[in-house]
């Protein structure tokens, strides 16, 4: 079916048209963060990086725009069923030249539109050939254009490992997409991809990073390899895995592959295919949101996937966030005394985030804290009040009873980061409060 691959020559196409096609083709990749590495400019070029990353704009979908997110080309020899660029789709095709990519990056960067470049690509001829194109563009950008800002590139499974190694010395972050949470799902929807091929470069990058850290300890000026770490993403809701399976996969990626981030991408139906589900109310945004909340609990709150879900309850509660849900199942651990409990214990209280917990531990050195102090510190008292005492007293007389607290938590509306109009889960308007700042960090 080679004739289905309609290759339109991109020569003669304007830069504007190419950018339109190749940004449109790249938009389903979730990762956009520019965080993980702090590097000052050396005064001889352009650019620096900031550890926390910088968002430069927010699109109409509320997602952050941090990097110039484009494909090198959207031509592809693969036929993954969920992908807009699969070879059996009749879509306009285009390719950049390395110089076009460099010019766009530099000119956008000097105007403070972007924080750097995110370069991915469809597979042109072969994985190795494609990686060489990417390498050429990134090499030019780093050496000829002296660009010292953030660069995130995709490692393409199946490409020559030596290329991955060389590219890693130029990029800040690399990522290999897991695509789907399980090998079975991958087999069904991405017939040209194999789980093993995906994990190979992921392992190689992990080992490269570890080895580089050791080198840097010995030689301070050794070139750094993927200093901002690696990330991956998986599509949620295209295949029938439950949340427990997904969280276990994520936990393994964090623990065994030292990933910096795992992104979850609510499945957006772009192709019609009998293998794909046709989600009624649009992408499963609430499910994606719960997974991110749980992901935060794994990375910053000291939780394990096993604590949040198990074989008997394999999916997250749609009415309650994972932390409140956990607390309600462990009422025997509460209430905790704010003026005495250790940091890790305070961190597990619903309504208290990382920042509030840190502030509590600092502020209580100067004397006992009262409820009004907690409010000033940023604790969401209407959620926390069921789980804490200040100087031995609860804020109001409260029954330590699961049903009672659940009812009260649910009757406070949760601030969800998406509208109720036109979105899924319209019926669920009763939610508890959720901290905006935490959501901001997700993106």
């Amino acid at each position: 079916m080679e004739s289905n691959l309609i290759v339109k020559k991109s020569e003669g196409m304007s830069l504007m048209d190419k950018l339109g096609i190749l940004a449109d083709a790249a938009k389903y990749d979730v990762s956009c963060s520019s965080s993980g590495v702090e590097r000052k400019g050396d005064g001889t070029g352009i650019g620096n990086t900031v550890a926390g990353g910088i968002c430069h704009s927010f699109g109409a979908d509320g997602r952050c725009i941090s990097l110039l997110k484009i494909l090198f080309t959207n031509e592809c020899i693969f036929d993954c069923k969920y992908c807009i660029n699969r070879k059996s789709n009749d879509v306009p095709r285009a390719s950049f030249t390395p110089d076009e990519i460099c010019e766009l990056t530099i000119q956008f960067y000097r105007r403070n539109y972007i924080e750097g470049l995110f370069l991915s690509s469809g597979i042109l001829y072969s994985p190795t050939y494609t990686m060489e194109l990417i390498y050429e563009a990134v090499y030019k950008l780093r050496t000829i254009y002296r660009f010292q800002g953030y660069i995130h590139v995709k490692a393409i499974p199946g490409a020559d490992p030596e290329l991955v190694q060389r590219l890693g010395l130029l990029a800040d972050r690399m990522s290999v997409n897991l695509e789907l949470p399980t090998a079975e799902g991958l087999k069904r929807l991405a017939p040209n991809k194999h789980r093993k091929n995906i994990l190979t470069p992921m392992r190689q990058i992990q080992q490269g990073i570890t080895q580089n850290k050791n080198e840097l300890m010995v030689y301070k000026h050794a070139p750094s390899f993927v200093p901002a770490g690696q990330s991956t993403q998986m599509i949620i809701g295209a295949t029938p895995e439950n949340d427990y399976q997904i969280m276990t996969v994520a936990e393994n990626l964090y623990k065994k592959f030292d990933l910096k981030r795992v992104y979850y991408s609510a499945f957006v139906s772009v192709n019609e295919d009998k293998e794909l589900p046709a989600p009624a109310g649009g992408p499963p945004l609430l499910r994606e949101h719960r997974l991110y909340q749980a992901d935060w609990l794994l990375r910053f709150y000291g939780f394990e996937a096993e604590e949040l879900l198990d074989e008997k309850r394999p999916n997250f509660n749609i009415l309650l966030d994972p932390k409140a849900d956990w607390a309600l199942r462990h009422l025997e651990l509460f209430p905790v005394e704010i003026n005495r409990a250790d940091y890790q214990t305070i961190l597990r209280v619903p309504g208290i985030g990382v920042k509030s917990a840190q502030r509590i531990v600092r502020a209580r050195r100067n004397g006992n804290l009262r409820f009004e102090d907690l409010k000033k510190i940023g604790v969401t008292l209407k959620r926390a009040l069921y789980f804490i005492t200040c100087n031995g007293k609860m804020m109001y007389p409260t029954k330590m009873e699961e049903d009672y607290i659940t009812r009260n938590l649910i009757s406070n509306k949760e601030k969800l980061p998406f509208d109720r109009d036109g979105m899924t889960y319209r019926q669920l308007s009763l939610f508890d409060d959720y901290k905006e700042a935490e959501w901001k960090n997700i993106i």
Binding site: D24, F58, R111
Partner: protein, 257 residues
């Protein structure tokens, strides 16, 4: 008990001078207050004294704060004093007083149960947040002569907190950041240190003649900006939360709307 109100100039130096003078009075700190400009309602049984800004006194106070309470606190106080709020002087003064009463002075800003420390914390956080928004959302336009120009309209006087970031990032560019509210220009000549210029008359007409490339690249970015969102996830409320409307006035991608 008599109350003393020291009227200080609305600047970092002015307020630091006030703090110096307040300590010089050798009276209980509860009796002394710092205010900016004339009070609207004068109080009975209160003495109002105008204080003249003194660079040396201010420098001494700055050094003392940094030495006794650490850099973190010093920066928090500087950020708080960039605020337009009238009570900032009093909050900073009483925070310093609270600091000298603490055992571990370096932990001053952690003492959030103190109302003045909390106020300084709040003001400093607002300035820091707004400064961060400017690092994110500030836009440069290329003028005919190749200079990058940016106009901003911040609520806090934050220009000195953001220029170092851009100076490090764009060392070989000539750029200008213009605070339209306060009429302050930060100028960065390529390869040199940046500096501030106050007041009008900066060849206004030059600032509206853009280079050839400017139109092309701003249009390319608008194309990118409108292409990258996922239609199925459209969410104006989230976009508004993350990117407050007041910044859009200065942003390239919102000009055509």
């Amino acid at each position: 008990m008599e109350e003393y109100y020291l009227i200080c100039e609305d600047s970092l130096e002015g307020i630091f001078t006030g703090i110096y003078d307040a300590y010089l009075m050798r009276k209980s700190h509860e009796q002394i207050h710092i205010c900016l400009g004339e009070e609207e309602n004068l109080r009975l049984f209160a003495v109002y004294e105008q204080r003249i800004t003194d660079e040396q006194k201010a420098a001494k106070v700055a050094r003392t704060i940094e030495r006794e309470f650490g850099v973190e606190t010093y920066l928090a106080i500087c950020r708080a004093l960039a605020s337009p709020e009238a009570d900032k002087g009093e909050a900073v003064y009483k925070t310093v007083v609270a600091g000298f009463r603490m055992g571990n002075r370096k932990a001053l800003m952690g003492n959030l149960a103190d109302p003045y420390v909390h106020r300084v914390f709040e003001l400093a956080r607002f300035t820091a947040n707004e400064a961060h928004f400017h690092v994110e959302f500030l836009r440069f336009q290329e003028l005919e002569n190749g200079i990058l120009y940016s106009a901003i309209g911040p609520k806090n006087n934050l220009i000195t907190f953001i220029v170092p970031h851009f100076a490090d990032r764009l060392p070989l560019e000539n750029f200008v950041i213009h605070d339209e509210i306060r009429n302050i220009y930060a100028l960065h000549p390529a390869g040199k240190d940046w500096y501030l210029v106050y007041g009008k008359g900066q060849a206004e007409e030059l600032l509206h003649r853009f280079s050839e490339g400017e139109k092309a690249y701003s249009e390319l970015f608008c194309k990118f900006f409108h292409t990258i969102p996922i239609k199925e996830r459209t969410n104006g409320a989230l976009q508004r939360n993350m990117l407050p409307l007041r910044y859009r006035k200065y942003m390239t991608e919102f000009q055509s709307l």
